[in-house]
Symmetry: C2
C-alpha cells in the first residue's frame, strides 16, 4: 500500500476525502482536514505527479526552454538564470513549478520542443533565444499551448512576447557617441539568426540616419557573442583602413576580449576608442575601464514574463488581465569609463 491509499488507510477514511482535504476543497470537516494534513506531513506524503496530471489533464508545470550548445551556454545562461527567481516568485503564487528544459546541441530545437509539448510535460512554455525565423513559435501557436517568447520574431505580433529595448539602446548609444563627435561608429551583431541581431542592426541604421550619418556596411561586424568574439571584433576593427572611433557591443562579455585586443595594441577603451556595452553585469562594473552599458532588473523582467504568460492561460487570465502582451522592456543607461573620451575627436 502506498501513495494516497496508504494515507487513507492510516487515517481510516476514504482516499476521496484525503484528496479533498489536501486540495483545500471546501466541503471537508475542519477536524478531518487537520488530521489529514498532519498525517501527510508525518508520513511525508506528496501526491504523485503522474497520477495527478493524468487525472487533471494539466501538469502545473511551466517550462523554460534554453539551448545548451557550448556557444549559447557561454552567454545566455547568466541572463536566463537571472530571470528564474522572478519567474518563480510569480509561479509560486499559483503552485506552479518552473522547470528548465535544456535542448542539447545534438538536437534540433524544433524537434525537441515538439517532443516536450507532445508529451504534455508542461502547461505552458517560455522561449528564449528567439530566432528571426523561429519555427518553434509557429509550432507552439499551432498546438494551442500557452507560451511567451523572450524576444520578438518575424512572426510579429501574432503571439505574446517581451523583448529588450534594442531600439532605445541603439538610439541612446548613438546619440551619446555622436555628441562626443564620433561619426564612425561600429556595431557587432551575432553571426546567428537570433532575432536581436536584426532588431539591433535596424535600430542602429535608423539612429545613424537621424543624425545624418551614412551607413557603412563595413562597420557592421559579425562576431560571436563571447570573449573571443570581442577579441576578434577588435582585431578586425584595428585592421580597417579607416578605423572606427567607437563601437557598440551587443553582449557584455565581448568587452573582455575587446579590451584584451586593445591592450595588445597598447590601446585603451575610453582613451583610444569608445566602447559601449549592452547589458550591465557584474563584469562591466569591475572591468578597467568600467563599461558604459544599460541596466535592467532581470528579476522584474522575470516577473513580467511570468505574469504575461499566465495572462494567456484560461485559469489565470482573470487575475492577470493583460491581454496578449507585446512589450518592449526598457533599459537604463549606466555611464562607465569606456566611452568617456576626455577630448572629443575632431570631426
Amino acid at each position: 500500500m502506498k501513495g494516497i491509499r496508504r494515507l487513507a488507510q492510516h487515517l481510516n477514511i476514504s482516499i476521496g476525502t484525503v484528496s479533498r482535504a489536501l486540495n483545500g476543497k471546501p466541503d471537508v470537516n475542519e477536524d478531518t482536514r487537520r488530521r489529514v494534513l498532519a498525517a501527510a506531513v508525518e508520513l511525508g506524503y506528496m501526491p504523485n505527479q503522474a497520477g495527478r496530471a493524468l487525472r487533471r489533464g494539466s501538469t502545473s508545470v511551466i517550462g523554460l526552454m534554453i539551448e545548451t550548445s557550448p556557444e549559447t551556454a557561454a552567454n545566455s545562461d547568466n541572463f536566463v538564470v537571472g530571470l528564474m527567481d522572478g519567474l518563480q516568485s510569480v509561479l509560486a503564487r499559483h503552485e506552479l513549478d518552473l522547470i528548465v528544459l535544456p535542448c542539447s546541441s545534438d538536437e534540433d530545437p524544433g524537434n525537441y520542443l515538439q517532443r516536450i509539448v507532445g508529451r504534455r510535460l508542461v502547461d505552458g512554455m517560455i522561449l528564449t533565444s528567439t530566432q528571426h525565423r523561429d519555427t518553434r513559435v509557429d509550432f507552439l501557436a499551432r498546438s494551442k499551448i500557452p507560451f511567451i517568447s523572450l524576444g520578438r520574431s518575424d512572426a510579429g505580433d501574432t503571439h505574446p512576447w517581451i523583448d529588450l529595448d534594442f531600439e532605445g539602446v541603439a538610439n541612446r548609444a548613438v546619440d551619446r557617441l555622436v555628441t562626443q563627435s564620433h561619426h564612425r561608429i561600429a556595431i557587432t551583431i551575432p553571426p546567428t539568426d537570433i532575432n536581436l541581431g536584426y532588431v539591433f542592426l535596424d535600430a542602429y541604421k535608423a539612429a545613424l540616419e537621424r543624425h545624418g550619418l551614412p551607413f557603412d556596411p563595413e562597420l557592421v561586424i559579425r562576431a560571436k557573442t563571447s570573449e573571443q568574439g570581442g577579441y576578434l571584433a577588435a582585431d578586425q576593427m584595428l585592421n580597417m583602413p579607416e578605423r572606427p572611433t567607437a563601437v557598440m557591443l551587443i553582449y557584455e562579455l565581448m568587452a573582455i576580449g575587446f579590451y584584451r585586443r586593445l591592450s595588445e595594441a597598447s590601446l585603451q577603451a575610453g582613451t583610444d576608442i569608445a566602447v559601449v556595452g549592452f547589458r550591465e553585469s557584474p563584469q562591466s562594473r569591475f572591468l578597467s575601464p568600467t563599461l558604459t552599458c544599460f541596466r535592467l532588473s532581470l528579476r522584474d523582467l522575470g516577473i513580467a514574463v511570468a505574469e504575461s504568460l499566465l495572462a494567456t492561460m484560461p485559469e489565470y487570465q482573470a487575475q492577470y488581465p493583460l491581454g496578449e502582451v507585446h512589450m518592449i522592456w526598457p533599459m537604463e543607461l549606466v555611464e562607465g569609463e569606456s566611452d568617456a573620451l576626455p577630448t572629443a575627436a575632431p570631426t
Copy 2:
C-alpha cells in the same frame, strides 16, 4: 478521441498493438510496425508523459537541481550549463530526458527537493553546490532514489559523488608559488557552507605544511565568489600590515574584481602580486594579464556524472558497471601571466 486511441482508430487496430509497435517490442508484425510508425509521424503522436509514467512507474526523466539565488546564479550557472551537453549525450542513449530543477531563493533546498522527489517527477537526481553538511544528501539516501552529487559532503563515501580535484589544484598552485619564492600565500574561500571551501582550505593547509610554511589564519579570506568578492578580497589584502605576495582565488570570476582593485592601487597581477585562479574559463584567457588557472572539460565531466548516475540505476547498471562512484576529477594547469613574476621576491 485523442492520444493513442486516436492513432489506433485511424489505423483500425487496437491500442495495445500501437503501443507495442511504438515501443519496439519484438512481437509485432513488421508491416504493422511500419504503418504505426508512419501514422504516428503523420498525426504527430507523442505518448502522454503522465499516462506513460503512471503505468510504468518511472518517468525517464533525470533532474539536475540548481539554485537560483542571485549569488549562486552569478557563479555556478556557467559551470552547470557547461555540464549539460555532456549529461545529455549520455542520457540520450537511453531516451532519458534531462530537466533542470531550479530552487528559488525563497525556498529551502531541502524542502524543494522533497517536493520534487515525493511527487516522483524524476527517476534520478544530480545535485550541485553540495554543502558541507547537506541535508539533501541524507534525504535522497533515505528515499532510495538514484542520485549523484557534484561535490563531496561530510557524509563521506556513503553515496556516489564526483568532485573537482581541489587538493591537486591547491598542491600545484602552492608548489608553483613557493618555487617563485612566495611564502605568504593567501587563499579565498566562499563565505557559505559549500563543501568545496572546506576541502580547498584543508588542501591549502596540507600543501603549506609540506613546504614547511606556517599557516596564518589571516591569509584565509572569506569572500563572495563574484567579481565584487574578488574586489573586496584584494582590498582586504592591500590593507594587511604584512601583505601577502600571492593569492589563490577559488572562483575565476573573482579575478576581474581582484584586478580592478589592484589597478586602482596602480598595481598589477603578475608584476606586483601573483594570482592563481581556479577554473579556466573564456574570461581567464582574455583578461590582462591572462590568468593562471586549471582546465577541465565540462563536457567530459558531464559524461562521467551521467554514467556514474546510471551505474546506480538497476535498469542501466549492467551497461555501466562502475559501482558506487567516488571520483576526484583531475584538472590541468594552464599557465597564464598572472603569477609570472619576472623577478622572484626575495625570501
